[in-house]
Symmetry: C2
Subunit: 342 residues, 2 copies
Amino acid sequence: MSELRKDPVLSRWVIISRERSNRPQVFKDTPAQLSDSGSCPFCPGNEHMTPPEVYSIRNGNAEEGDAGWSLRVVPNMFPVLRIEGDLERRGVGMYDQMNGIGAHEVVIESRDHRRLLHEHPLEHIVEIFRAYRERMNDLLRDGRFEYIIVFKNQGMRAGASLDHPHSQIVALPIVPKRVMEEIHGSLQHWNQKKRCVYQDIIDQEVRMGERIVCENERFIVFCPYASIVPFETCILPKEHQPAYQRTSDDDHASLAEIIRELLNRYSRALGIDFDYNFIIHTVPSDQWCQENMPIANSVYRWHIEFYPKLSKTAGFEWGTEFYINPTPPEDAAAFLREVAGE
Amino acid sequence: MSELRKDPVLSRWVIISRERSNRPQVFKDTPAQLSDSGSCPFCPGNEHMTPPEVYSIRNGNAEEGDAGWSLRVVPNMFPVLRIEGDLERRGVGMYDQMNGIGAHEVVIESRDHRRLLHEHPLEHIVEIFRAYRERMNDLLRDGRFEYIIVFKNQGMRAGASLDHPHSQIVALPIVPKRVMEEIHGSLQHWNQKKRCVYQDIIDQEVRMGERIVCENERFIVFCPYASIVPFETCILPKEHQPAYQRTSDDDHASLAEIIRELLNRYSRALGIDFDYNFIIHTVPSDQWCQENMPIANSVYRWHIEFYPKLSKTAGFEWGTEFYINPTPPEDAAAFLREVAGE
């Protein structure tokens, strides 16, 4: 059973899991190669290799468990947190701990073992981003969860252990530190200026132009002023929206369009097989906001952060959270603007 | 010229550098292999391949520039920050920026291209840790610098680009975010309990025993309760000491001993060629403390954090600072205790 532990100095929660053997020898082995064999648990016909699905897109009357799906969401076979049981908080001397209650799901993005996210028709990309919202809202009905993280590890260098394209959803009984920092940072800006920090960023980026990659009706994509890695980008809604979980179908149509354009630009600039992570940052659960900071819904804006895995981070960054980025975001944005987005 | 930029939401400073070509193609190349050829700029006889040294250990009357050294500190050939010029802070609309003033030095730990840190005689390890202190104090005489980071990337997976064992020193005109968080966290503990959080941690770890790896007269080594990666360890002085820059020669003798023991344990548990990072965390400059938080010297304790590079971090960790650690620190400490330290 895994557990959540809080760092006594940094107030940062960590999941301590026993998902893999804890003998040091396991780390010496070469990592498992991603396979394209017929044994992929995410491929049609192998539905029995995953836990029962919690969400799917199906055509017509196909029954659950058969191969008539176009997208499936299933519990992770090796979850870092488990949904069964009551949330128990306890102190261990000066330390704080919770048992490993949560949820860990996998979004199998399509039937196709090889097709990358942006290679799908627009309507299918829309289905993927709608699935994230649907699962978020379902999980948020569970009062134990304060936050739902949606993220994608594309490629081995980005941490993927299976190559059938998929993304992941983790429901947490706490709000991650980075999100807390974003909320506090945007609140501080609000208190000083009575303005939304995200709107101020958009206004300045539009005025300066040099870090913008692309935009459409509802979204803007730019390389952040203080990017921590080369070719980092941020997708931000142009209007105030604190919660991804409250996005509309129209939002998803526009979002799918801009994400396809961004990933097309990335693959032309960085190579078709570039690895990346993206993470959706959104406001915590309604209950958390009501109890802790109702103003979070006024000052925060959901967004998606993209991190291409081009350079490795070294000790300097790990120990200090002080990053060295060898590519100015203005240069990265220029490259991404120059290549075709279609 | 590089520059420092502050994230407008997170208040995190980033170095935006142009040290390498910024064309995306450079990232597609396979990384340069570490070489053991005679062309190593850190090997004896190749002193002309580095900038003039700023510190060295020499036997007898050997003159600077010749090969009679046993340890050298030289400016980095490709510094992320430069020492020349005045520190200029400016606003770019809502964004904050500084020019890239700082220092970036390399500690060439010995003449031997292959000998790892813990394979040296104890007296030589002492010299290395004394060199860190000497360089810290020299750099802190420069009023532009608020903080000196000392770190080591051992092995390619940990970010090393040359295999002749070396460590690095970066002088910064700002205090890194993680150190600020540590100072604020230890101050909060002090305000609540009027006790040092680091002493409380030591007391509890000694009482519980299960996460302690080893200890000697002056230092204790343990796997932190909320470790973020497998086999993470922390070396903490047993007595109150805020500043590595004020450590004594006796401290270094004891520190060299415990570090050799820890690295011997690591190499027996994880394999002789295991990669790792370590980072010295210390209190900021006297000037910073006086102007900002004199109490930092009462509540903070310097320490060294070790991060073996065993597992890769994926998107989840990057975007949230919410880590999943598959090895409980109690298990890691038990393995490290079981193997020999000599």
